[in-house]
Structures are given as C-alpha cells and as structure tokens.
Amino acid sequence: MAAEKMAVAKAINESLRRALESDPKVLIMGEDVGKLGGVFRVTDGLQKDFGEDRVVDTPLAESGIVGTAIGLALRGYRPVVEIQFDGFVFPAYDQIVTQLAKMHARSLGKVKMPVVLRIPYGGGIGAVEHHSESPEALFAHVAGLKVVSPSNAADAYWMMQQAIQSDDPVIYFEPKRRYWDKGEVDKDAIPGPLHTARVVREGTDLTLAAYGPMVKLCQEVADAAAEEGRSLEVVDLRSISPLDFDTVQASVEKTRRLVVVHEAPVFLGSGAEIAARITERCFYHLEAPVLRVGGYHAPYPPARLEEEYLPDLDRVLDAVDRSLAY
C-alpha cells in the first residue's frame, strides 16, 4: 500500500483503529471518546465500529480513569486513555506517579503496566485556561514512565503503535496545534525504535533540538536562517524519556552549537537537562553555552497574550544569533 496523506489527528485515529483490530485486549477510555469521538475527534468512529465495551466513555474523573486503567492492565488489558486536555491531567497525577509508574518495580517485574496516556498538549489555539499547557517535564522526571511526543503524521501513527505495544506506561503527548497538519503516512513502513531522535534537517552551523509542536517551528527557523546564509541542523527528539542524547551529541559535535526549543517553561524543563548533559558530553566541542527557548516562569497566559509566551520564529532566531555571536 502506498503512503497516504493525512492529518496528525487522523493518523492517530488510524493507528488506534489498527491496534483495536489487531489486539482484542486494547481498549480506548476517556471522557467523550465514544459517541463524540473526542473533543478533537481523534477517536472518531471507533466506538461505532468496536462497540462501547472497547471504546469506553468514562465518568468525568481523571484519577478514576487512570486508576481503573491500571486495574484493567492488571487483568491483562492494554488501555489507551485519553486525558482531554493537558491541564486536566493533575487529578490523575497521583495514580500516574505513585501507582502506574511504580507498579513494575514494586512487583519486582511480575506486573506489567501496558497503559498509554494520550494527552493533547501545548498552546497556540487560543484556548481558555488549562487548555494550552506543556507539562511533559513533570512526567519525564518520574522513573517508570516513558514520555514521547510526535511532531508529524507518520510519527503520530507509528509512535502510537509502538506505545501500545510497550509493556511500560507511555505518556503520549499530542501536539494539539498540529492536529490538522497533513503528512505522508506509510502503513507498511518498518518504523525505527520509539525512543530515538531523528535529524530532520541537516546543517553545519548550529543544532536546534525540539519535539512535538516546536519541530515545525524549528524547520521554519532553519529556512529563515538559510536565507541569511546560516546552515541549521534540526533534531526532532521524539522521545523525552528516555532521551536520545547520542543523536543530539553527534549533531552538536558537528555544529558545536545547540539551542533547545520547547513550549514548556524553561526553568527545570527538558531543555535544562539537555543543556546539562550535552555540556557534560561535548564540553570541548562547544563554541557557545547551550541556550534554551521556551515558556516563562508564569502561568500560561490568556489567549490574547499567548503569542508573547510561546517561542516563535523571532525568539528562536534571536537565540540562534546569540549562540553564533560567541
């Protein structure tokens, strides 16, 4: 079958459909995922085709959803849970951190937790409070969890397949502002490993590292910089835990400069960890300190201010200039 062009949301939908078809233990759970097909329509049509027993509209209680998903996993199911919005995950945070993440270690490996938590995240859609946040660092900090975020349709499709097949809990952050971006998806492809980064654009002067919604921005930044005669390399990290430092290191050893971009606040964000690790690994290669571009140490602002808060072309270019000025 040839590659099809489809939007990120549709790619996830098709991936979920494939999982439901191929494994009777896969379940979809969440608020409004059934009849409505999810508020972003990511699960559109799945309940109609697979029934209410497998595509489960749940009571409106995030801790309850994750807690019962853990129980279902203990019974041998592979639940794929939708948390409706990033800012709504916190009632479930306790179950995720104290139970989901630790069950395998607590049982000395006797209990597996093949649970996927899908969380639409990030801003740029003009939403109200709690609908635009990027809490990935809060999960990546927890041993026992794996955290990934696709940036395009093909990855959205394949990374979901791999997340569902994983025997570990995977938090799958969906870049909600890219839901409607289209890309080629080859359903017969043989995907690479889930937790590896990928160089999506080669360059020689500086490396931009990003994941999820910021990858597209970084590619635009690279285009703009090219017009000024600068060659930027873009690394799509794809996985935040584990993080593929080897790919970043190889890139930085070549370009000698690194700027990390994410929507999440810079302070103690994933960029901080990348900066520390890459400095440690590439100390003698670096021509400039690792710089970070991200959100501020302030609550995610009202929609009319979000463009000021989110990294954009100019802010990333500014960081690129600062790095190149060293």
Partner: protein, 436 residues
C-alpha cells in the same frame, strides 16, 4: 464553624464508641449506630448518629429520616461477644446474610478460629521483630482478625484481592506466606510477592488508590465474561479519599463485580470517624446506587456471611456492594505511632471485651466444638509459626546494590542503563583502591 461544632457534640454525648456493641442481647440491635450508643433496647431502634446538631429544626427532621433508614440497615451480628449464635430475626436482609453461614460445620468454625489465632500470633511476632530492630516498621492488625479472616475466607480462588498495607489476615487466607509480607517492612523490597500467584495484589500504601485498581480489574472481569469477584480493602480514613469515591462511582456506572470492604477501625492514625464523615460509612453506598451494610467486624461469622453475600451478588452480575466492618484498631497505627496522645485506654478496654478471637473461643467451648487438645495443639502450632517467622526475617538478606536499577522498566530505558553502569563503576572504584 458553629455548624460543625454543633454536629460534633451530640455524637460524643452519644457515648464512647468503645461501648458501641457491648451488652447487646437481641439480634440486630447493635446496628447502625454511627457513634455506637450504649444501652440498646430493642431491635430496629438504630439511630445512625443522626442526632447531630440537636436544637435546630432542620436537624430534627434529619434525625427522623436517618432513624428510619437506619432501622433497615443495622449492624449485622451473628455471634455475640459472649459467644452466642444470634438467630436471624426473620427480617429479609438479615436472614439472607445468616443463610450464608447457616450450614457452617464445627470443623469450619475451628478453621476460622485457627486462622485468627495464627494471624494474631504472626502479627505479634512482627511487632516484636520491629522492637528488636529486625523490621523498620510494622502495621499491626490486632483487633481486626475477624473482619479479615471472615472476608478473606469468603473469597474464591479465582477472586482477586486488593489490600491496603494491613491485610495480613486476608493474605493468610489467600495462601500468601506471611514471611513474604515482611520484606517491605524490613526494607528489602516494596512488596515482592507475585500478585498473580495468589490473586492477592501488592500492599498499597497511598491511601485508597487500590479501590480504583480493584474496580478496573473488576471491569476487566466483566469484559471477560468471568464470574470471579474482586474485593477492595480500605479503611475509614480512606473513605474520605477522592479515589475511593471515584471507585464507588465507576463500579456503579459499569456494574463492576467488586466488593468494597471498609474496615472501620475507628481511627485513621489520630483522627476519629468524626473527622472523616458525617454519615455512617455504609450509607455512602446508597448515594452511588448500590447496597451498603454494616457488619460487626469483630464477628468472624457475620463478616464471612456478609462478604459471601456481597461476592455472590457480584458474581451474579448484580454489581458492587459496600461492607463496613465495624471494628477497632487495638494497637497503634504502626509501630511509629503513639495512640496515648489521642485516645484513652478505657476505649481499648471496652473493645477488648468484644475481642474477635475470644468470642469464637467461647462459642467453640460452649457448643463443645473444640476440646482442650485442639487449643493446646493450636498453641504449639502458633509458637512454631512465630519461630519460623523470626528465623526467616533474621535470615532475610539485604538486596544486591544493583537491585535499585532492576525492574524500573519492563522494556528497559537508556538512562537507567547508563546510570547502572556509572554506579557499578563507582562501586568498583572502591574495590580497586582497596586492592592497591
């Protein structure tokens, strides 16, 4: 502020909880009393603690309603503290519960007694081992043997149990070797038994989390079309947790075959029931749409009967039920706790008169179901268990250092691998320097 103070006072004046079920003669008269009033006179006169806030008109009305409801769901007791079998009064639910142990044999009664005695012996040994420094902590179940053995013995092999961290008696019923429970209290692991070999999940320390796991598991049982039951243990403190209430709701919405078994041992560390709830806990079930029943948690027969009833209806597809086993934590919350700071000894003394083991012994003796030989033999068995537990714990090795990196993930994780290598190299550096 005024409101809550007003509400608190009458419950206190209703008498000490300790006296709650003493001196009850007639069937079903001890029931439903939130605060355990003394001097119960007749069946069905339960007050359910609705006398809160006396004086206000609104409260008077509440009292009447509560009293009416309370009379329908009193505390179920089948064996009095004096060891007398309580004959069902003929009232429908009560007789139905009693029916579940109607045919119980002397052999089975001796078995329940043995379970309780050995569980208590194990528990005492663990407390002693903590005092000797062999365990870092112990959460004693002293006083709750009947609730645990009764409910535990009601489970079938294919049922699944989700305990808190105090269900040593239930673990015993499930066939988990008691010494397996001690690893986490010694600090060599966080649990370590295979939950699937006895269908007894790992101890859960975060209060109430397991109620949701049990509910999810039960949802899975229903999806599988199996007729197994699931039982979730928790306490009066956990009843305040959102997770427990969400579990009630999910279980009701999905009609999941789960039994919520709340051991109301009166104390959540230092906080009494009054700090957790304004209604008797079993009544919470009604608001979620399933039955709730309060059972005398110091009565092993009643605990067995009511749990059998609840599991049976779960198997038949009739959904969840809540059992509130009204009991008492005779000891401290854990060995780190000091109950003298928040409760009086006379309370404990009153509950000792209702001891779960003592009452079954009285019954076995008066009914001539057991002779001196039985008790002597059990004493020997009990001491042997204590000795074995002692020996196993003292011989329990510390885990290998590298164990801290084990099982963090099922499919591995690059960072864990990297840190394991670094840690091993760091440890090896000592060996090298010592070698020089």
């Amino acid at each position: 502020m005024t409101d809550s103070t007003a509400a608190r006072k009458p419950r206190r004046s209703a008498g000490s909880k300790a006296a709650g079920t003493t001196g009850t003669k007639a069937a079903g008269t001890t029931g439903g009393k939130a605060a355990g009033t003394t001097g119960t006179k007749a069946a069905g006169t339960t007050t359910t603690g609705g006398k809160a806030g006396a004086g206000a008109k609104r409260t008077t009305r509440t009292t009447r309603t509560a009293a009416k409801k309370g009379s329908e769901t009193e505390l179920v007791q089948l064996l009095t503290p004096e060891g007398e079998r309580v004959e069902p009064t003929g009232k429908a639910p009560y007789a139905e519960y009693a029916g579940y142990v109607a045919g119980i044999t002397p052999d089975e009664l001796r078995g329940l007694y043995r379970d309780m005695v050995l569980t208590r012996r194990f528990d005492a040994e663990a407390t002693a081992l903590q005092r000797q420094g062999e365990l870092g902590l112990w959460a004693s179940l002293l006083g709750q043997e009947a609730a645990q053995i009764g409910s535990g013995r009601a489970t079938r092999e294919d049922d699944y149990v989700f305990p808190t961290y105090r269900e040593h008696g239930v673990a015993w019923c499930r066939g988990v070797d008691p010494t397996n429970l001690l690893g986490m209290f010694r600090g060599v692991n966080h649990g370590g038994w295979d939950p699937n070999s006895n269908n007894f999940h790992l101890y859960t320390i975060v209060i109430g989390s397991q109620a949701l796991h049990a509910t999810g598991y039960a949802m899975g049982v229903a999806k599988d079309g199996a007729d197994s039951g699931v039982i979730a243990y928790f306490g009066d403190g956990a009843s305040s947790q959102g997770d427990v209430n969400e579990a009630f709701n999910f279980a009701a919405v999905y009609n999941a075959p789960v039994v919520f078994f709340c051991q109301n041992n009166q104390w959540a560390i230092s906080e009494s029931n009054e700090k957790q709830t304004r209604v008797p806990l079993y009544q919470r079930a009604q608001g979620f749409g399933f039955p709730g029943v309060r059972v005398d948690g110091n009565d092993v027969l009643a605990s067995l009967a009511v749990t059998r009833w609840a599991l049976d209806r779960a198997r038949r597809g009739e959904g969840p039920a809540l059992i509130e086993a009204y009991t008492y934590r005779m000891g401290a919350h854990t060995t780190s706790d000091d109950p003298s700071r928040y409760r009086h000894d006379d309370e404990r003394a009153a509950w000792e008169a209702k001891d779960p083991i003592l009452r079954l012994r009285r019954h076995l003796e008066s009914a001539h179901h057991a002779d001196e030989g039985f008790f002597a033999e059990l004493e020997t068995e009990s001491e042997a268990l204590g000795k074995r537990v002692r020996e196993v714990v003292r011989a329990m090795p510390d885990p290998d250092r590298l164990a801290l990196f084990e099982h963090v993930y099922a499919d591995g994780h690059a960072l864990v691998d990297e840190e394991r290598v670094q840690f091993a190299a760091y440890q090896a550096s000592f060996a090298e320097s010592e070698g020089v």
